[in-house]
Amino acid sequence: MVKVTQRLGGLVLRFAAFCAALGAVIAMVTSRERSSFFVLSLVAKYSDLAAFKYFVIANAIVSVYSFLVLFLPKESLLWKFVVVLDLFFLVNGKLTVKMVTMLLTSSLSAAAAVAQVGKRGNANAGWLPICGQVPRFCDQITGALIAGLVALILYVFLLIFSIHSVVDPFLLRKS
């Protein structure tokens, strides 16, 4: 019974993280706005900035990984053997979720840093903020970053959850 609820909880978390990461990718990819000031026409796309490209790629990898892991039914049988015997499998499974969490947090941090410069500008470097000219683009980027943050928080929960379901550090289980 405990195993079933644990597995169900893990599945729900993973599905929610998959949705959030997919939402972040879609929101950023479809953000495109054309604005013109005087005779110059400026098209703002996400691919202009390397940080946003990295964000899209990282979140796409995360959503594909989450989707694939959702459909691994045999793993629920393997967990019993993993706990007792194989340190290698344990660490391998945990390392993958941790790598994904690191990927998410680094991409979110980079995109947020560059978006902050786009919104406020950098007076000392002579970089003007661009959000005044392309407000809808900025709003969509903000939405994508928020979705990425939600995916990151869900993955942190998933990491702690999966470590707790395999290793019992609080000695809660009596067996």
């Binding site: 290698f88 660490v91 980079a110 840093a113 550090p169 000695l171």
Partner: protein, 198 residues
């Protein structure tokens, strides 16, 4: 994979020295990254125009405080190096604690948090530096590295140290998590070892 071999060796008692060595390396890497970026400052005088025949000069300064991503970088690296120093102290002087399983769990969780922190800081600073180095013609942002070359070089050095810290922290975190499953005492204290898994 070298990482998995390293982690499999975490069950042996030699892993304690390996973990300590890795923590010392990570501490020095993140501390040097924080210090180099914290002292990153360059002042230069440029000729901005001509009034008649005399050139008009203006002095510009490039400091790390101008960019919030670099401020985050310095603060995060300082925090991670402090964490590593704390863990080294606990490792060397904290062998007599009885509640072993909680200590292992807190070390593992703190290591995980610090891995994410330092990777976020290193990445944010890297992408901001890329914009500063290459500029962005779509947003009409000029590059600054051609004018402040020393500032950019020091920043690049700090970034390299921080990324080395990221890799080291990842390995350290993997070893801490693997020690959760099979705890073994590192110090020579005679307290009984409670096993986490019955």
């Amino acid at each position: 994979m070298a990482v998995s071999k390293l982690v499999l060796a975490a069950t042996s008692t030699k892993s304690c020295k390996v973990l300590l060595g890795l923590r010392v390396l990570a501490f020095s890497a993140t501390l040097s990254a924080a210090i180099v970026m914290g002292l990153n400052k360059e002042t230069k005088t440029f000729v901005v125009g001509n009034v008649g025949n005399t050139p008009v000069k203006a002095t510009f300064t490039a400091k790390f405080q101008h960019t919030p991503a670099f401020v985050f970088f310095v603060v995060a690296n300082a925090m991670v190096s402090f964490h590593n120093m704390l863990m080294i102290a606990v490792h060397l002087f904290g062998g007599e604690m009885e509640f072993t399983s909680f200590r292992l769990l807190s070390v593992a969780i703190l290591d995980m948090l610090n891995v994410t922190l330092i990777s976020a800081a290193a990445n944010a600073a890297a992408f901001i530096s890329e914009v500063g180095k290459n500029g962005n013609k779509h947003a009409r942002w000029d590059k600054i590295c051609d004018r402040f070359a020393t500032y950019c070089d020091h920043g690049a050095g700090a970034l390299i140290a921080a990324f080395a810290g990221v890799v080291l922290m990842l390995i350290i975190s993997a070893i801490s998590i693997s020690r959760l499953a099979q705890p073994n005492k590192c110090s020579s204290s005679t307290a009984a070892t409670p096993s986490v898994l019955p």
